[in-house]
Symmetry: D2
Subunit: 191 residues, 4 copies
């Protein structure tokens, strides 16, 4: 159910953002742990478990340590859930305050593009990125608070290699297009 292979996550493809004045890229979150919560507003497991957990994470961790990002990955009932107004009303009523992106539809009422790229199996799904932007958890279904908290506490405490303190090393993002680092050491020096 989970995988910890440290690969970089694909860029998000989002049609519309809620709860944020500007679009969010994963690259711009480099240096922080990222919890990406994929949900659908009519998914019972998301409403009863995943979204309340995401909201509590958003409130528990300081924003400079951890970013919670919701992703509305509509892959069924497109006519109902695929409208911005529907999601906006839902977000208002459930008092969700973290940024939420509407996953870019594929144009044929199928699986939306970020969900495809992230190879998610359904909703709720959780993808956790470490401070270097690498996928450290890829989980489908509910996950226990204690277990998730332990992973996030550990990732928040990991030192960031020097190269990552620079703007994102692997491509253009909203901060510009940096030169690639010469030798990226992905392991932390001894403290």
């Amino acid at each position: 159910m989970t995988s910890t292979t440290p690969l970089p996550a694909p860029a998000l493809q989002v049609a519309h953002w809620l709860n944020t004045p500007t679009p969010i890229t994963l690259a711009s979150l480099r240096g922080r742990v990222v919890v990406l919560h994929a949900f659908q507003m009519l998914c019972p497991g998301c409403v009863s478990h995943g979204l309340p957990q995401a909201q509590r994470l958003h409130q528990l961790f300081p924003p400079e340590q951890l970013a919670v990002v919701g992703l509305h990955t509509v892959f069924e009932h497109h006519a109902v859930m695929g409208r911005v107004a529907a999601l906006r009303a839902f977000v208002h009523e459930y008092r969700l305050s973290f940024p939420i992106g509407i996953d870019q539809p594929d144009g044929h009422d199928g699986v939306p593009l970020s969900m495809q790229a992230l190879r998610l199996r359904g909703t709720p799904s959780l993808v956790v990125l470490d401070r270097q932007g690498r996928v450290r958890l890829h989980h489908f279904g509910p996950i226990d608070d204690l277990q998730l908290g332990a992973l996030l506490g550990q990732l928040v405490g990991e030192p960031l290699p020097a190269a990552h303190a620079l703007p994102a090393a692997d491509g253009c993002d909203d901060r510009g297009c940096p030169l690639p680092p010469v030798a990226t050491s992905t392991t932390a020096p001894a403290a």
Copy 2:
């Protein structure tokens, strides 16, 4: 929060029914206890508490003893929740199997007509009718399982006055078309 004054309930005004082949009238349910659950699909307290409780009632009691009727009383976010397709997708995902009526809109994105006539204060609300069609509980907010179960068990066990033992008094229903009773006046006129 509750009232047990035994007044008759006003007739339902419903724009569309789900989970039932034919429209339902309170009159046609005479002889059975009726649990009327007013909800909105984007109301968190309805989703987490009221609707699961209604569904369990629907499964627990034999249908000849008790009828659970949902009422989608949209009084906010009309553009989102006021569409039949939205409610149908919601009902499908949450696996609700009891009959649900869409309360008749007032035409001005205000409080719908049954909700007005029933003088409901919000969602979730519960209106319980005894076997004679009289309101025995009028409740806004969550209600405890033990307390609700006790009331319903008591109402189910109440004997039905002879006049009410006849088939439905005010029209044809799925049991046939009875002659009107001579002096039964416990039903409410149309609103």
Copy 3:
């Protein structure tokens, strides 16, 4: 798991009572619905589910309608749980306020006498008596609030045959020593 055969319950055999100034007999409770909750203080299912449910029943129903009676049926760890002081401390800490009897030990650290007579299969167990003292539910394990509430509401509403309105029919109790009834009709007349 449940049985509704309407047989009378055997008399309780109790070594010591807590939360009541005088011993309780089932006969003295005739006319009221009785919920007999058999538990052990070191039984996790009793502590987490059965006892809190019994306490809520004790608070929910008027005492003239329903009596909750606890029965400490120690059938293991006798040296630890079989002491009055241990149960008293437990009852104090868990704030249980309904009468609790310590089931009479069998003298050999086996199954205590009331538990044997009631043919209980373990703890928690629930035995529900109707207003005539007949067993209407005999249940081992947790039971749902809605289901239990419905049964109790129904039993509370059952009319009491005239003979049972007299003081207890089968012996002296704390209300006195009545003459035996001539012809006890144990079924209710039609309403």
Copy 4:
């Protein structure tokens, strides 16, 4: 409610141990994160929340990373809870598998010695030590899974200063180089 001042914890004073073949000292756990859970077997908040949480921690973390230690800090109902047999039966029924020490009584049915030394305010209490044996959380009452998990994940991931990697827990460390103890008597003799 919490404190994170990194002071070393006082040694445990334990009359008897359960679930461990040999007595445990905090010094011997140096290098691992330690969760010390103080409880009483008749404390409802311990039984419903604290002990299940401690048991889940014990199962979730690898033993070389984190040690869960229970401490039965009896400060009331001594005659009932102060017996080894009572605690043993409790531990058996609740299936607790982590080591549990019985806090050394003060000899006057007052607050036991470790509880005094740790300055605990009641039960349930949680004292969390980092890998260097310093108190990083001192908490009275229930604590949220997500919050506790995050702290423990962070502490588990903290690097251990070189001095602490030595077997002897009381040699040189970043606090200085103490004289070796002549006779460490922080463990209690067998009861």
